[in-house]
Symmetry: C2
Subunit: 351 residues, 2 copies
């Protein structure tokens, strides 16, 4: 197949880990006879510095002309004092909204070799294999009115039935090819939007008789993600709850540096990026862990290009290299070797 | 001193644990020469059943005539199908709003004897001693407009400067008599209300030069509560974030059944209740853990009546009894004895 990929390295360790993922994509193209055309663009702080805008038109155009986007990371202390609206993360919010990427998928799967790094007891973390499906273009992030005076401020949490329906459908579809369970998270005892959310889930479930559905309040879910994380399969929720719960979930297995994410819409176009940040403290040192970026590239192959075999090949390579005891510094332990970003990526390519 | 206490046992295990706390209060009164006048009232499901309203006027009057309120728990499957607005938890929301109980204090402290029950590795949980200060009468819970049609729904997150100021002051005051650190949690990179929140915290801090302040985004905080919970002292945040984070925090030390809470306002009047729910599955069996209710009574003595010595006496008794290996069934381990609610309360009274 021929595909065009927009690569937006961004800030901090973004360029290093993206470059590792690009190497893997190139190898996949050779091995499986695909042609991936890459076009590079600026986003976040790098784009502010060069063009005064965290999501410049040039970047929007490059993405528009592509089948998928691979992003590194945005942000860093350099831009922390920028006015709100002109921060690196505004680039992220803008690209999501611009392309209507309403479904954010964040898988969290325990890597047996890394459980020692989990803050949870190993028996709690070892069977974790869940996917948070977060609504990404609605809710408190974008609702109007949204304004502030010296005396008061307001944000608006609004959802239309249609916005809820499409994300709920996405969750059901994913549960079908996973373990067949959806946990819908809301605050239906307090919020009107949550009551509408729950109503939509109840209506939709008839169309997916093979999927079990449970409703959970967001506060209970925040507890259960710690006390019994292995109980979850697909977790679907609105934008702000998803922001909090997916970050919470990301630390339970001790493999935060390894977690990929996808932000997609219905036609297959999507943005793929590591869950970790731009790591300003280690940027430029060549020691960043590229696993999350590489696994994000695998998600791209699976969700945007339908290349399941190729995606699985990457995922297996990552598992094997870790099990063989090759690590980057962030996840190194006694008895394992800490490699540089490049060395570790070489291992993946060999696999 | 003479004090009047409204006792609202509520539903499920509420009456059992409240009765244990009342025994402790009576003993304290005898020992320290106070007079506590108790007046009982209905709330939650019990009030719906008897009077068709989860927070009836009779109860409001009884509380109004009191110096503080001791509450058990509300809710249960019996009322799950009730229309929203007529559920047990509406009694809780109503009493908070009616009395302007804007500050919800939830201490989470590791109990060394119970660390085995923590889902976290013991070295993570062992030094935890934090207090979540949650704004309780504003934000998404009560903001208008709040409505729903078949096609869409909206909730409103609004805060006035004054609402933020008083809760932030409360957090600073508490930090002063604790370890001198406040973590203010918001989502200032997305929400206008959070930007106002952060502005108020920045302004207020000049008045508390002895307190260190840090700002944390709610998603980062959800992570750090698991990866480094011992780093927190006082955590202050808005209503919905506080709901999620305080429940998350409540499970990290493995002593959820032991956690008390206070919902107070500026004049000392307050509502005290266990963090745990109404435990419908064990209700009526006489095996519920009364520690959270007893420790809530201790918080009442401290925050509403200024009886620090008396409060500390209760807290020490609880520690000692646990260390001596006396437990209720929920926290029993090998080598400890599982007592009934009454037997365990007897131990506390002896201490
Ligand atoms: C940077 C920020 C605006 C963003 C969000 O809140 O969505 C981030 O936390 C994320 O989860 O991708
Ligand atoms: C019962 C519910 C309305 C309540 C809340 O969300 O405030 C509860 O979760 C709590 O934290 O006390």
């Amino acid at each position: 197949m021929e595909k065009t990929i927009a690569v937006l390295p961004g800030d901090g360790i973004g360029p290093e880990v993206t470059s590792a993922a690009v190497k893997v994509l190139k190898l996949i193209a050779r091995r499986y006879n695909h042609s991936f055309k890459l076009s590079y663009g600026l986003i976040g702080g790098a784009a502010i510095d060069a063009l005064g805008n965290p999501f410049p038109e040039e970047t929007a155009d490059a993405c528009q002309a592509s089948d998928a986007v691979l992003l590194g990371a945005v942000g860093g202390p350099k831009w922390d004092a920028n006015a709100s609206g002109n921060r690196p993360e505004n680039g992220l919010l803008a690209i999501r909204k611009h392309f209507g990427l309403f479904a954010n998928l964040r898988p969290v799967k325990a890597v047996p070799a890394l459980l020692g790094a989990s803050p949870l007891k190993e028996e709690k973390a070892s069977d974790v294999d869940l996917m948070i499906v977060r609504e990404l273009t609605g809710g408190l992030y974008f609702g109007e009115p949204k304004h502030r005076t010296h005396e008061a401020a307001v944000d608006t949490l609004s959802y239309s039935r249609e916005e809820i329906e499409r994300i709920v459908d996405k969750a059901f579809e994913l549960a079908r090819v996973r373990r067949g369970k959806v946990t819908s998270v809301d605050k239906a005892n307090v919020l009107e939007t949550s009551r509408l959310w729950r109503e939509v889930v109840e209506e939709k479930k008839a169309a997916y008789p093979d999927v079990r559905v449970e409703h959970q309040l967001v506060d209970s879910c925040a507890m259960k993600l710690i006390t019994d994380p292995a109980a979850f399969d697909v977790v679907v929720t609105e934008n702000m709850f998803g922001d909090i719960l997916s970050d919470e979930a990301s630390v339970i297995t001790g493999s935060l540096g390894m977690l990929p994410s996808a932000s997609i819409r219905s036609d297959g176009f999507g943005l793929y990026e590591p869950v970790h940040g731009s790591g300003p403290d280690i940027a430029g040192k060549g020691i960043a862990n590229p696993a999350a970026a590489i696994l994000s590239a695998a998600m791209m192959l699976r969700y945007s290009f339908g290349m399941d075999t190729e995606a699985a090949a990457i995922e297996e390579a990552v598992q094997t290299v870790l099990e063989d005891g090759f690590r980057t510094a962030d996840v190194a332990e006694e008895g394992t070797r800490a490699l540089s970003t490049e060395e570790w990526t070489e291992r993946i390519l060999e696999q």
